[in-house]
Symmetry: C2
Subunit: 251 residues, 2 copies
């Protein structure tokens, strides 16, 4: 169980330190931070660390929902499919994201790693136990779910009523706002470098557009000097406020 792990989609790290949670860089960003340091051993005991290679699906829509996940590294795309293959990306799960909130018996979406991803995996019963031991965790999950709901409603507005240009602008602004507090933001026209771990196709499926429209619209925004596109996985936001106005339909 030591060699031959390279090509496997999911790698479970069973020899892990009891202090993983204590030294976990994602704790500050996760629901876990409501649990006291002294209790972190219980948390680590309840979960295993799983590594997922890019392109691999670790949650499959419709499968029995046996596990919950907390992302500690990398970004994944969450999506739903129609029988004929049409895809809707419902979100991108980065570090700190809690996955599996759907309390139903089967997963409502699939999750695929865009980068090398690490997650803490909890079984349904283990999580139930943690929730009973730490009521604060349950409160935190309710808060997280509520915020997700607000984000989802915002996305419905985007998908139902915004133009392609407004959708791309909204996407860029949302990505820019998730940058972990870079100095000099909010100060009008400071350039921001946005990381895009997903492909144009993923962006299209997230915004309810086609690859071509995403590409064309970004080219247009570049021609208008709102953005720069140094490479396929980065965009520089040259005029945050102007793009924000586009995003909210005010331009």
């Amino acid at each position: 169980m030591t060699a031959m792990t390279r090509a496997r989609p999911l790698v479970i790290d069973s020899h892990r330190d009891a202090n993983v949670c204590l030294t976990c860089g994602a704790r500050a960003l996760s629901v876990c931070h409501v649990i006291d340091e002294s209790d972190l051993d219980k948390l680590s005991a309840a979960s295993v660390t799983v590594s997922v290679l890019p392109g691999h699906t670790f949650i499959q829509e419709g499968d029995p929902a046996e596990h919950f996940f907390n992302v500690t590294a990398g970004t994944s795309k969450l999506y739903k499919l129609l029988p004929d293959g049409r895809r809707q990306v419902t979100g991108f799960a980065g570090v700190g994201y809690f996955l599996g909130l759907a309390v139903s018996s089967s997963y409502a979406f699939s999750a695929e790693a865009l980068e090398p991803v690490r997650v803490c995996r909890f079984s349904r019963t283990k999580l139930r136990g943690l929730l009973d031991d730490f009521p604060a965790l349950e409160k935190k999950l309710l808060e997280v779910a509520s915020n997700e709901l607000v984000v989802a409603q915002e996305q419905m507005l985007l998908l139902g009523r915004k133009t392609a240009r407004e959708r791309l602008a909204s996407f860029l602004i949302a990505r820019a706002n998730m940058i972990p507090h870079c100095p000099g933001r909010g100060a009008a026209n400071v350039a921001e470098r946005i990381q895009l771990p997903m492909t144009r196709g993923d962006i299209a499926d997230y915004l309810g557009l086609t690859i071509e429209t995403v590409s064309r619209t970004l080219s247009k925004l570049r021609a208008e000097k709102f953005i720069e596109i140094p490479n396929n996985s980065e965009i520089v936001l040259l005029k945050h406020d102007a793009v924000e106005d586009i995003a909210t339909g005010m331009a």
Copy 2:
């Protein structure tokens, strides 16, 4: 404080029985049903009943979120607006619906009564107290929020990837499935009478379409004998399964 209430948008019933919750017909459908009968007096003490006339807005997007609501009668539409007036209806809140899950400081959406509506209104602090007294209520809210999230993701798929025909079919099936267990459903081609308390405009804003497209698409479904339209606020589903196939993109 007894006369002159007729034309007021919101009417607060302050003289209410301590047993309102005990006799509340909506309890079985609400989060409240997790609270034991013997504790219902605490619940009624924490809330007031508010009546809302059709067409009146009782939650305004952006206003400080001071209250939470539990719907005990009537249907409301929940929506978000763009500055230029484009509207996205994010859902319809019927009896038993818990409103205000967004734990942020201001409401993320507006709510307007479509019919005469009654809600139980809790202040933020009173609800906090109830959650501390009844942990089961917190668990229930997490469950409700999680289910909402699943519904929201389904709606994103609809808005991002479905055709007008598929959207209307999905809407009709969702409405049909919420009928409180009428006998003989699921048995293939049994006609179901769907109530539509909202206008074509509301449906359009919910499905990300225009009034005209909603009207045209329903006319087409009628011409194809999938549905009947006895009047503007009712639709009879003649072929549930066929319409379900349209809804899921399989026809």
